[in-house]
Symmetry: C2
């Protein structure tokens, strides 16, 4: 048998590509598809991953890091409302360009699995990025957590509804997202005064 020359990274990369290309969300990822793409029998994958859930978490890590990377790049050199708008726009753009990966990034880490500590760390990075942006609003420290949660909720919710075709009306979705950003900017500023 010619060795396929796989590795954990190669398998994860294949999975990432499959999720990214195939329509539909990340829970449609199947070992059969990965194995076929790799030109390998399904059980062979277990030499590189410990389970499907493990693979999912690895994919989530890749997706989450890329999301954070792009978000950070979009906000660098900006601050205040400008940074917040750029952050929201970057997140939405990532979710639109890579819907499968965006949803893949949402898997929660296993509490007892040490390998998913990286995933938890990446998730923390994402939250920390939002917090960093919001620090430009001079919020009282006790309000920062609230603001982070409000911003995350709003952007995440919008992205999900948009992806699920939850916006039936033909009205311009871009404009609605702009309205969302405006509400967030104003709202966070108001939180800073309270």
């Amino acid at each position: 048998m010619a060795r396929a020359g796989l590795s954990r990274d190669a398998v994860v990369d294949l999975a990432v590509r499959l999720i990214d290309e195939a329509p539909g969300s990340a829970d449609r990822l199947t070992l059969a598809a990965v194995a076929a793409e790799a030109g390998v029998a399904v059980p062979s994958l277990y030499k590189h991953i410990t389970s499907l859930a493990d693979l999912r978490r690895a994919v989530a890590l890749v997706a989450l890091r890329e999301l954070v990377r792009r978000s950070a790049a979009a906000t660098v050199g900006r601050s205040g409302p400008d940074a917040l708008r750029a952050l929201g726009t970057a997140i939405r753009a990532y979710a639109r360009e890579h819907p499968g990966l965006y949803s893949a990034a949402q898997v929660s880490p296993e509490a007892d699995d040490p390998a998913s500590a990286e995933l938890a760390a990446a998730a923390l990075d994402a939250v920390e990025l939002v917090a960093a942006v919001l620090r430009g609003f001079a919020l009282p420290e006790t309000r920062l957590v609230d603001a982070v949660r409000v911003v995350r909720s709003a952007v995440h919710g919008f992205v999900l509804l948009e992806r699920a075709h939850g916006f039936g009306m033909p009205e311009d979705v871009d404009r609605s997202f702009d309205a969302l950003l405006t509400v967030l900017v104003d709202g966070v500023a108001a939180l800073a005064r309270s």
Copy 2:
């Protein structure tokens, strides 16, 4: 064989109960579990439903209608900011009390399936309820759609993150949700002035 006396409604009701009681989201619903609960072999269920997806949509319909019912009840007799806060609170309360059903309510209807027209109609009712609440803000008609989307996104996103234990910090989540409602009330009011 003693007849089990099933019916479509009975099967759907069983599925609703299973989703509601079992932890975890709605996509863990299994025909095996429903059949076991009904005291019947799995294929027998097909006399009452056409597929698992069909059952899922039926459950979604029940869940969505209940969500709308509770939301409507919470907002009756209120208007403006008061109504908006009550609406958000009711949605979150439903999602917390019935996490499985809340997630079940999010399945999107099949475009070509006539049976899921009811589901689409219920979804429309939900959106319409939000719109009705927001009409109390004297928004320009062209902004109403934006406001509806902003509110839906924010509340939905918050509920999802909360359910996914996405709020790592120990800070009071109730207070954060209150901040979200405040941001929405202020934001919608600002939208009305723009």
